[in-house]
Symmetry: C2
Subunit: 210 residues, 2 copies
Amino acid sequence: MDTHSLPSKLLDTAVGELASLPGIGRKTALRLALHLLKQPAEQVNYFGNAIIAMRNEVKQCRVCCNISDSDTCEICANPNRESSTICVVENVQDVMSIEATLQYNGLYHVLGGVISPMDGISPGDLNIASLLERVAAGDAKEAIIAISTTMEGETTAYYLYKKLSAYPIKISALARGVEFGNELEHTDEITLGRSIKNRTPFENLFGHKG
Amino acid sequence: MDTHSLPSKLLDTAVGELASLPGIGRKTALRLALHLLKQPAEQVNYFGNAIIAMRNEVKQCRVCCNISDSDTCEICANPNRESSTICVVENVQDVMSIEATLQYNGLYHVLGGVISPMDGISPGDLNIASLLERVAAGDAKEAIIAISTTMEGETTAYYLYKKLSAYPIKISALARGVEFGNELEHTDEITLGRSIKNRTPFENLFGHKG
C-alpha cells in the first residue's frame, strides 16, 4: 500500500504527525489515524487536548527534576520520606521502577539522561549542577548512583562519583550480581566473575541490610 | 515498571489516551508521552490539533464514501476516470492499495467494512444502500467486487453479488490464483486446486485483458 498518496490533506497531516512518534512508521500511523477517524468527535478532541495539556502544563519538580503537576513533586513534598538519601537516576521511568519495588523510602534526583558524546549529550545537558547544589545545601547523607550499566551509564556514574566525592557524604551504587531467576549458564562472564569476587553473606540475601 | 502510579495526573491522562489506540499498550503509551513531553510545546500543540482537525473536518465523499477533504473525492471528481466501472472495496486502505497498482482507472465504492455477525456488523451498517442507488441511477456498466477472501469477506461478496444481480450490469471479482513471487509448495491446496481448474491462456499473464 502506497501511503504517500492519501485521499485527504487533513489525513495526510495527521498521519505525518503520528509517524513522527518513535517506533511508529507511516503504515502504523495510517492505521491509527483511520481508527481515530472512526471514533466519536468528542473522544478524539479529548485525546488531542489531553496530549496538548500534558505538554503545556506538566511541571518539573524544582527539587529533584522529576515530572510533577505542582512545583514540588509528591515524593519531595512527602514528610515521611527520608530526605537524607538521594537516589540519582537517569529518567522518570527509573523513578517509577524503583518506587514499584516498595524497597526505597528516600528521595530522587532525575538526571534527564546520561553523558553520551555520540549523541551530543555532555554533563552540562544533564541535571547535575542542581544535584551538586542540593548535596551542598541540604541534609543529604548518602547518594545512591542508580544508573544503567551501559558504557554511557558507567561513564556518567564515574563522573558523578568524582563530583560527589567533594562532599562529605556516603556514595553508593546499586548492588551488581546475578539477576534473580537467572540461570548461571546464561549470566555473562563479567557479572559472574564479579559476583564471586564480591560474594555476600548468605543471610544478606533475605535480610534488609548487609 | 509499574505504569499505574505515574507522578502526574496530566501525564496519566495522556498515557491513558495513547494506550486507547489499537496495538499500543500502557508501556508504549508512556514512552510516547515522555517523548512528546520532551518536544517543543508548539510542535506538540500542532500534533494534537492535527489529529483534532482531521477528525472534525475530514469528509466522506457523497458518491463513493471514500474519505475526502471536499464533498466529492478527487477520484469521483476526476473527469478522466471511467465512470462506467465501480470497484467495491472494504475500506480506504484498499482504495489506496489498488490506486498504487496504477492498473485501474474506474471509480470506487467504499463499504466501510464487511458483514460480520460475530462483530455485530450487518449489511445495514455498511454503505450498501448507497452502492445500489448508485448502480440504479448511474451509468455503471460493471461492478468489480474486490473484497478480502476471508470468510466474512466471501459472505459479503456473495451478498453483494445477489443484490447487484437485480441490475443489468456485469459483476466481476478479482482474479484468484497463485500469488506472484510465491512458491507452489507454499500455496494452499484450495488456491492451487482452483488455479489448475481455472487455468488461463499463458499469454494472458502478460497482457491486459483475457
